[in-house]
């Protein structure tokens, strides 16, 4: 009997962009408001992007394509990108064509393109049609256990945490004031004694496609 051999490279990525760096061009989150639509409802789509030149900001996609199924339309209006939920009858027809149960939500993937100072960025987002849902609330933050003011003021060894974290939510932190430890958890520590002023952000996701974020100025003293 052959033995399973598993191999892991024990190396770090010292000189490549880290997932928490706000200076690296990337899509931070795609938000539909709301994330799941009842029949005939209208949802709005926007994208949180960042890059070295302009930092984090809401951006309007240059293109959104509905990959499947047919009958779902996304349009660009003066107010931004909108998605129109089909009627109850149309949704029933889509369910039937896909072989879904009568009460199942129809999950539709969207292919999104958004421009950054470093070129086009590609993202994918799904929207549920059938039962309405809401995005989670934007988090509030604690610095070393105390509520933050209008900005995060921290020391190099401080911790910053989401107030009242929820186990069902996932968290992703971003920073332009130095390295972060624990950036996929509800609390982070700074890991850079030379840090100064910049931005600190956290994106919150639920398991149904809902998303919210909080981005704040931050000053980290050595």
């Amino acid at each position: 009997m052959k033995r399973i051999v598993l191999v892991f490279g024990l190396v770090g990525c010292a000189d490549v962009p880290q997932p928490f760096e706000l200076e690296h061009a990337r899509v931070m989150a795609v938000r539909t408001e709301p994330p799941a639509l009842a029949p005939d409802a209208v949802g709005r789509i926007d994208v949180l992007v960042t890059d070295a030149e302009r930092g984090p900001r809401l951006a309007e996609p240059s293109a959104i394509v509905v990959t499947a199924p047919a009958g779902i339309e996304v349009t660009q209006t003066a107010a931004g990108w909108e998605v129109q939920s089909p009627s109850a009858d149309e949704l029933a027809g889509v369910r039937a064509s896909l072989g879904f149960p009568a009460d199942a939500d129809v999950i539709v993937p969207l292919a999104i393109t958004v421009e950054s100072s470093e070129g086009a960025l590609a993202a994918q987002k799904t929207i549920a049609f059938g039962t309405a849902a809401a995005n989670p609330s934007a988090p509030t933050l604690l610095v070393d256990g105390a509520p933050m003011g209008d900005r995060v003021e921290a020391r190099a060894d401080s911790s910053v945490a989401v107030a009242a974290p929820v186990a069902e939510l996932s968290y992703r932190w971003f920073s332009s004031v130095g390295d972060l430890i624990g950036y996929t958890t509800s609390a982070v520590r700074f890991d850079d004694p030379s840090a100064g002023e910049g931005l600190l952000g956290v994106v919150v996701r639920d398991q149904a496609g809902g998303v919210a974020w909080m981005i704040t100025p931050a000053e980290v003293a050595p």
Partner: protein
């Protein structure tokens, strides 16, 4: 190195003994049969040995001892033993040697620079075996003729061992001192071996010595010791053990900012014990127990955004123990071997807190083979083996990587195998072959092997044949062909009982030519046609892919192997080249692509010089094509799961850097009245060529860094020997 091809009449074996370096006949040399027969060579090196033994043995003071099968006209070439070499070395030619088969003596293999004295590491320098430093840098197996390690088998006394190398691949699980012959068969092997669709490495445990000896050794790699000797006139013993010292060295070389904290540093140990007893001149009994244990546990505090579940700890413990009891009966014209073996094999792997793979195996196996030589011109071989293995498993783990997979497992996003239970595999096999010598210079072997993979409810009949024609003295042509299968037992394929074995139809032709008295050349061309390759058509992220393996793949491996060997009294060396192309289709209509283990060119040059009785120096240079990999063309951000999905180019359409490195070794020996002290310095990759062997991508696949081979690996050791 000895060459021997047989000539036998009905009552006696005739032959000649020569010095391999000079080609001159050796008078006064004693040639032994299998019981009490013996003959002494005359002034022309000629001898006549009464009886019809299957093999003859020559033990002559200043030469390497040899055992030569009697398979035609007999010419025995003795190689002078280097001063200071170990005394007991037996080198034999494989029965019905196939094109490409190589047997090189242990003394050469252990002094190859870079092998660190390990004979099973030294065999990587033979043609047909890939430079796995670039293909599977931490692999525990061998890549033979472009096939995955799982397609070949490593046998010890006829029974398989689950791994060949300890963690990081720097040392094999069996020390050189416990091994007798190592037979390397890269393909088209005979009916005695099965359940492999590529090659065979068959090691035999060493005969216990007639004199008591011992050694103790300390090196950068491990600490080792051995005691062996006779018990009375008919029994003997050998006991050995090793323990790694790498866990004492790693803390000094791992950067403090690596983010890695070892709870238990990588460590291994292995152990061997053997006892032999010869109740009569014709019966010999032996018991051999050996095993190994590897373990590592580490903690990383670095976040892993692409695979959060993999953050935290990695724990791997792996061990096996095998015990073999065997009996052998030999008389002129008859050789019977019967063996039974029991083994345990444990492999536990945990990643973070939520992923684990716990496998515990327990098995029993038997193997019997009888060789009957009734006439002197016809030899018959029949054999049978069985293997019963129970595997207890407790698994919550992602699927392992597949052949051609552009990425490793993702413990967070890949579909999981969640299973607890036990599975039993029952394999039976039988084989028969006949070797005939219609004329003294021609040897023809034909036979068939039947493997019954009962768990898969499959019976495979595999015809095989080999032929060797001695054109002139020192010039032999060989050809072989056969069908070979291996069952679906690798990785999680073993959980799926409805798979057929992978099949290889192998063909090879070769030539062996003595160019000078001390220089020989072997060349082989081979073609392996592969079918029923097991593939997983679905994506690993898809939970419906579980249990979804199918026998859809096909492919081929074709190439040439060349080995130019030179050996004189003080110098040995060789130039080995393998050129091969290994391609496959994952299903009919799919595009052809390179195998993961395709290595187009592999050139190895080895040289070692005994300067005087105290000093030996050697060098080794290797130049190989980089491994294939699948390029990343871009990535799409998956907003719902906060992860990037890479977009790949054509599978295995690009290659990493060409690999090349130089290894050097210096041995110094001090000889005292009662004991001997030896020291060696073995430096791998002397000019610090840290070539890329793979690429690791950052979180959004926008940049990559190279995983490199070890930049330099010095190893120093001292050894005291009684």
């Amino acid at each position: 190195m000895c060459t021997g091809v047989a000539f036998a009449d009905t009552e006696a074996i005739r032959g000649r003994v020569l010095d391999d370096a000079t080609g001159q006949p050796l008078p006064g040399v004693t040639v032994y049969g299998e019981s009490d027969e013996a003959a002494v060579t005359d002034e022309s090196g000629e001898f006549v040995l009464p009886g019809t033994p299957l093999a003859v043995t020559v033990i002559e003071g200043s030469y390497e001892p040899v055992v030569v099968p009697v398979t035609g006209r007999l010419e025995i070439r003795l190689v002078a033993r280097p001063e200071g070499a170990e005394v007991i070395e037996i080198v034999g030619e494989s029965r019905a040697a196939t094109p490409g088969a190589v047997t090189i003596d242990r003394q050469q293999l252990t002094t190859i620079p870079g092998a660190r004295g390990d004979v099973l590491s030294g065999i990587k320098n033979l043609p047909g075996i890939a430079n796995n430093g670039s293909l599977t840098p931490l692999s525990s197996g061998l890549i033979i003729r472009g096939a995955s390690p799982e397609s070949s088998r490593i046998l010890v006394d006829g029974f398989e061992i689950p791994i060949l190398y300890h963690f990081l691949g720097v040392q094999s699980v069996l020390p050189t001192e416990m091994l007798g012959n190592v037979e390397y068969l890269p393909g088209t092997f005979g009916t005695s071996y099965g359940r492999a669709s590529a090659g065979i490495v068959a090691a035999t445990s060493r005969e216990t010595p007639t004199e008591t000896s011992a050694f103790a050794e300390l090196s950068f790699i491990n600490v080792a010791g051995l005691v062996q000797g006779p018990i009375g006139k008919r029994a003997g013993y050998a006991v050995a053990a090793r323990r790694s010292v790498i866990d004492a060295i790693l803390p000094a070389v791992i950067p403090s900012d690596s983010g890695l904290n070892f709870t238990a540093y990588p460590r291994y140990y292995d152990y061997q014990g053997k006892a032999t007893y010869q109740p009569t001149d014709r019966w010999s009994l032996q018991a051999f127990v050996f095993g190994s244990d590897d373990g590592v546990e580490l903690v990383t505090d670095r976040d892993n955004a692409a695979d959060p579940v993999a953050t935290g700890s990695f724990v791997n413990t792996a061990s096996f123990t095998r015990g073999i009891a065997s009996a052998r009966y030999r008389r002129p014209g008859l050789d019977m071997k019967h063996a039974i073996s029991a083994y345990t094999d444990t492999n536990h792997f945990t990643v973070g807190r939520e992923r684990y793979l716990l496998l515990d195996r327990l098995g029993i196996a038997t193997r019997s083979e009888t060789i009957w030589d009734p006439t002197g011109w016809l030899r018959l071989t029949v054999g049978a083996e069985s293997d019963l293995t129970r595997t207890d498993f407790d698994i919550k783990f992602t699927r392992p990587p597949r052949e051609g997979d552009p990425r490793g497992p993702n413990f967070t996003n890949d579909a999981l195998i969640v299973a607890t239970g036990a599975a039993t595999s029952r394999d039976l096999a039988g084989w028969a072959s006949a070797t005939a010598y219609p004329i003294p210079s021609l040897e023809i072997t034909a036979g068939a092997r039947v493997d019954a993979y009962l768990r898969n409810d499959v019976v495979e009949v595999q015809p095989r044949g080999q032929a060797a024609f001695t054109v002139t003295d020192g010039s032999t042509i060989r050809a072989a062909a056969g069908t070979y299968t291996r069952p679906a037992q690798n990785l999680d394929q073993g959980l799926q009982a409805d798979l057929r074995p992978e099949t290889a139809h192998q063909f090879s032709v070769g030539v062996e030519q003595r160019l000078l008295s001390s220089v020989t050349f072997r060349g082989t061309a081979f073609y392996n046609r592969l079918s029923d390759l097991i593939v997983l058509p679905a994506d690993r992220r898809d939970p419906t892919s579980l249990g979804g393996y199918e026998n859809l793949g096909s492919g081929s491996v074709r190439g040439v192997e060349m080995l130019l060997q030179a050996r004189t009294e003080k110098v040995f060396g060789w130039l080995a080249y393998t050129g091969a192309i290994a391609t496959r289709r994952d299903a009919d209509g799919m595009p052809e692509r390179r195998f993961d283990y395709d290595q187009t060119h592999n050139l190895i040059a080895v040289a070692s010089v005994q300067i005087d009785p105290r000093w030996r120096v050697g060098g080794r240079f290797q130049l190989t094509t980089g491994r294939p990999y699948t390029p990343v063309m871009g990535a799409v951000y998956q907003s719902d799961i906060d992860s990037y999905l890479p977009m790949y180019g054509a599978p295995n359409s690009q290659r990493v850097d060409v690999q090349h490195q130089l290894d050097l070794r210096v041995d110094r020996t001090w000889t005292f009245d009662r004991w001997k002290l030896a020291a060696y310095l073995d430096i791998s990759n002397v000019y610090v060529n840290a070539a890329a062997i793979d690429y690791q991508y950052n979180f959004d696949y926008s940049q990559r860094t190279a995983l490199t081979s070890l930049p330099i690996l010095p190893s120093f050791g001292v050894r005291g020997e009684l």
